[in-house]
Amino acid sequence: MNDIIFDLKNVQFSYLGKFPALCGVDMTIRSGEKIAVIGANGTGKSTLLQLLDGLIFPDHGHVTAFGEKLLENSHVDEKTAHRFRKRVGLVFQNADIQLFCPSVREDIAFGPLQLGVAEEEVDRRIQEVAQVLDIQHLLERVPHQLSIGEKRRVAIASVLAIDPDVYLFDEPTAGLDPLTVRHIIDFIVHANRLGKTIITATHDLHIIGEIADTVYVFDRNKRIVRGGATQTVLNDRSLLEANNLIHIHQHHHNGKEHVHQHLPLEPHD
């Protein structure tokens, strides 16, 4: 079908040929979808995003992006590489990896400049994304002087400046304060309303209801154990518990000690 962006068939990947990271993943992602990939640590979520971004390539099986197979030599040609990079942007989990330039302004400009955007247009985009993410005051700052939340927003800005069709987010809210988490969720929801395809790897179940319509659950065998509508997946408590995504815990709440499952969507007394 024409609106299929990514099609993965029996994708297997291992690091150094001996540490399996993905063991037979099948997945189809369509334009404009809002998808979350959830799973405990080390289940292959980040690896999947890097495969979708054409940074690594499967050992077995294949990934098709925009109707063309993603192969190791398919990005050797600069035009082909740029065509793909303009359409897919990855926000890395560790913002320090993504922010490698000496100033925030240059980090935001890096992507568009590599993709051949004229400097005047790059300047315009810097101002625009800085306003959207409320980071105008950070433009001349050095990335290592920023807080984690600021770094994360700048990392998103560096991808937003490319204006891709597909956003890949790797743990976008990990370690952030509630207000920054809120800003990032709002950004993702807004981008999706504008027609962008959103794929988010996370194990923060509290945000999934807002940032995803479809959820894929990865298990310890580095396979998709379940995929489906967000609400349906999140209601399957045994599935989430079996995959280390919810836990039973005891805490002090409303003046009394009680024990319950920690669930993402349901309020509790």
Binding site: Q50, D53, L55, H75, E78, A81, H82, R85, K86, G89, L90, F92, N94, D96, I97, Q98, L99, F100, C101, P102, S103, R105, E106, A109, F110, G111, L113, Q114, L115, G116, E119, V122, D123, E140, V142, P143, H144, S158, V159, I162
Partner: protein, 283 residues
């Protein structure tokens, strides 16, 4: 009571942590570059060209008074750029001229530089004579070094390192070189912080007292660990670059905006250098 084993084992750790602290404070903080002042308000290209002209003048002049004038100008510029003069003097005068003095010490004496004797004395029965040409040459060398170092320090203190790197690009240095240097600079801070955190984590587990040999082992592990993490991170950073369209030929921002003030500054710098050269020629 102090523990000698503890002191010995702490030596390497303290040295590393002090070096890291100095690196972060002195090199990576851009406190002065972010202040409002004369030099901070100038276009980095014009500032760099003018300082280069000052430097050439300082190196070329052979008159101590004229070089001293340039040094006075340097102090005035530091003052006008909101840099505490005392801090500036400590930073420039304390070490480098002292070292240069050590280098020129032998040239003071008649055995290296013969000429009119200014002062003679005996050390352990050996007669030592300081000569006029030796003294003049040494003084010129030290003043020239002090002025040159002060100019370079003033330029680096009042300019953000990212702007200095941009200036390199304007002068034709290949973008890949500039990008590599700027990335090294960027990650230096990150790894300095990481090494500090490792030491804190080790201390929290083994306590402050450890045997010297054990302390050396810890330092060796840290070096190996930092090396591994550096390699891993460099691969990930390269991926992040590829992800944003990098294909081996970096394209970087080059926007600078010169104002009439910059041209006036450059003209003033040229006039000062030309006047000093002329005065040096006529003396």
């Amino acid at each position: 009571m102090s523990n000698p084993v503890h002191k010995k084992s702490d030596f390497i750790e303290r040295s590393i942590l002090s070096a890291l602290a100095f690196l972060k404070d002195a090199t990576l903080s851009e406190e002065y570059a972010n202040r409002k002042g004369l030099l901070q308000s100038l276009d980095p290209r014009f500032k760099t060209i003018s300082f280069f002209a000052f430097l050439v003048t300082a190196v070329s002049l052979k008159n101590v008074v004229l070089i001293g004038t340039l040094y006075g100008l340097c102090l005035l510029l530091a003052f006008l750029s909101s840099i505490p003069v005392r801090h500036f003097l400590v930073r420039t005068l304390l070490f480098i001229p002292l070292f240069s003095l050590c280098i020129v010490l032998p040239t003071l004496f008649s055995i290296v530089t013969p000429g009119e004797a200014v002062w003679s004395f005996n050390i352990l029965g050996i007669s030592a004579v300081i000569t006029r040409p030796g003294f003049d040459g040494a003084l010129l060398f030290v003043v020239r070094i002090a002025t040159s170092v002060s100019l370079v320090v003033l330029l680096s203190l009042t300019t953000r390192h990212s702007e200095l790197l941009k200036v390199l690009r304007v002068f034709g240095v290949p973008p890949i070189f500039v990008l590599t240097v700027s990335m090294s600079y960027r990650y230096l801070y990150l790894f300095a912080t990481m090494v500090e955190n490792i030491f804190t984590a080790v201390k929290s587990r083994v306590g402050v007292v450890s045997h010297q040999r054990h302390g050396q082992n810890i330092v060796a592990w840290n070096i190996a660990n930092t090396w591994n993490r550096t390699t891993q991170m460099s691969e990930e950073v390269y991926m992040a670059m590829l992800s944003r369209g990098y294909t081996g030929e970096p394209r970087l921002l080059s926007a600078f905006q010169a104002t009439p003030k910059d041209w006036v500054w450059l003209l003033g710098a040229v006039i000062i250098c030309a006047s000093l050269f002329y005065r040096g020629y006529t003396l």
